[in-house]
Symmetry: C2
Subunit: 245 residues, 2 copies
DNA sequence: GGATTGAATATTGTATTCAAAAATCACTAA
DNA sequence: TTAGTGATTTTTGAATACAATATTCAATCC
């Protein structure tokens, strides 16, 4: 019997993926209005599947829909990033615990392969590669937890993505120099089957990033005592337009 | 300035809500195929907003989309319900902790108003009302936690809904007689601002339901040693058809 | 009688169309 | 100039149209 549901790929799925990566890769920037006509022409599809994809992204909070006005790429607040870390602290802690319990030898080997050739120097290229590896690592960790529902939530809900929405160091909150040993310790704890240690290390990892983020937020607040940002996009221009003279 | 995004209510939102409640209320039963033409006529809208709503429900896992075949009301496995409880154990534990920290006097009063006139007798009516109150209570608890992201996830991801997908006692895993004192203790812990106790009680509450569920699953497995259920709906009839002789 | 084939029918996925709302622009008056 | 106002253009939200695919069912063959 052939697998159902995988043979055909609906257009809206393709559009969804394409659009999502455009947002994640910052080709569409926070605040940008999504011009449906333009994008659908660009993708060579009608507005119907695009609309579908946009609704999906709205549910994921990657875009914001304003009725009768359109869709805008959403901007995450530091508070939201903080919440995402708080959630990841417990959720990935749980995943790490379960991973340590059910991990197989083959998976352990693959896990140990992460961050083997990490470049901890200052180079921008190195940071970028580390950030990518970081993402892959955490995704794999969740996968190892064997928690379908959790997997789904973290993936579809973009908790991971949100976490990288800090504006420095490719979205990393702390420098690889600091996080690399933590990652390695966590890897070892899971690979060698130590649930308690794994959970503790995973939680510590996020707790520390959270503290760092909090510290930055305090600093920022101290610098700009009261400058409330506009919460809704109003008369936002697309980033594609020519900058004024 | 007028509130953006709340004045207009898109059709697909209405259809979404309507459809969702039809599924939750079992007017559409697990396995049922969703006939788009029929439903859209019933709702008096075209298939476009219905399609949108269906895609949303697909993301929430309340319906399953099979390309070129249609949408089916999804059936949750006991395993999924178990996972939902496992997640709720930690997530609502966290919410209870935070609620106990930030709760206001007014909220505490409202919280103490839950389950005041609970009917713990055997009557079906009583059970139904208790189950509804149970849902409202847990939703309020999450709200009290003040965790926007968590709120969203639990709501949109139907973790709560999934939890009530057990086929006995209106979806309740344990009898009110057993859970009522737990609810009351939890309420008191939160209302009187005891974070540690609140988290402990919340987690215990779910852990016990989880154990009960596990026990039932074991029993069931013992009764029917090997009868693998079909994982995909195949030639599923709508529940509207006349039952055969 | 039961499996197989293929035309007829139904349903889906997507494009197109259209009315209503919002944005933009040109024009007038202070 | 600049604020306000009405006409024009864009854009959205939803209905309809249509081609591609799936399902059904009757006729045929073994």
């Amino acid at each position: 019997m052939r697998k159902l549901g995988t043979r055909h790929e609906n257009l809206d799925r393709k559009v969804y993926r394409e659009l999502k990566s455009m947002i994640v890769d910052r080709k569409l920037k926070p605040g940008d209005k999504i011009l449906q006509e333009k994008i659908s022409q660009e993708f060579g599809v009608s507005r119907t599947p695009l609309m579908c994809a946009l609704k999906k992204l709205e549910q994921e909070k990657l875009v914001q829909a304003i009725p009768r006005r359109g869709f805008y790429v959403r901007r995450f607040t530091k508070e939201e990033v903080l919440e995402a870390f708080e959630l990841r602290e417990i959720l990935e802690g749980l995943a790490a615990r379960r991973a340590a319990i059910i991990i197989t030898a083959i998976q352990a080997e693959r896990l140990r392969g992460f961050f083997t050739d990490a470049d901890v120097s200052e180079s921008g290229q190195g940071i970028k590669r580390y950030a990518d590896e970081d993402r892959r690592f955490h995704n794999f960790l969740i996968e190892l937890g064997g928690f379908d529902l959790l997997n789904d939530i973290l993936e579809n809900y973009n908790i991971i993505t949100v976490s990288y929405r800090v504006d420095v160091m490719e979205g990393l909150v702390r420098h690889p120099r600091e996080t690399l040993p933590e990652h390695r310790a966590l890897i070892e704890a899971i690979a060698s089957g130590k649930p308690d240690l794994a959970e503790k290390l995973a939680r510590q990892h996020f707790a520390r990033s959270r503290q760092q983020l909090l510290k930055e937020m305090e600093l920022e607040k101290a610098r700009r005592p009261s400058k409330p940002a506009a919460s809704h996009p109003r008369a936002v221009r697309t980033s594609q337009q020519e900058p004024g003279p």
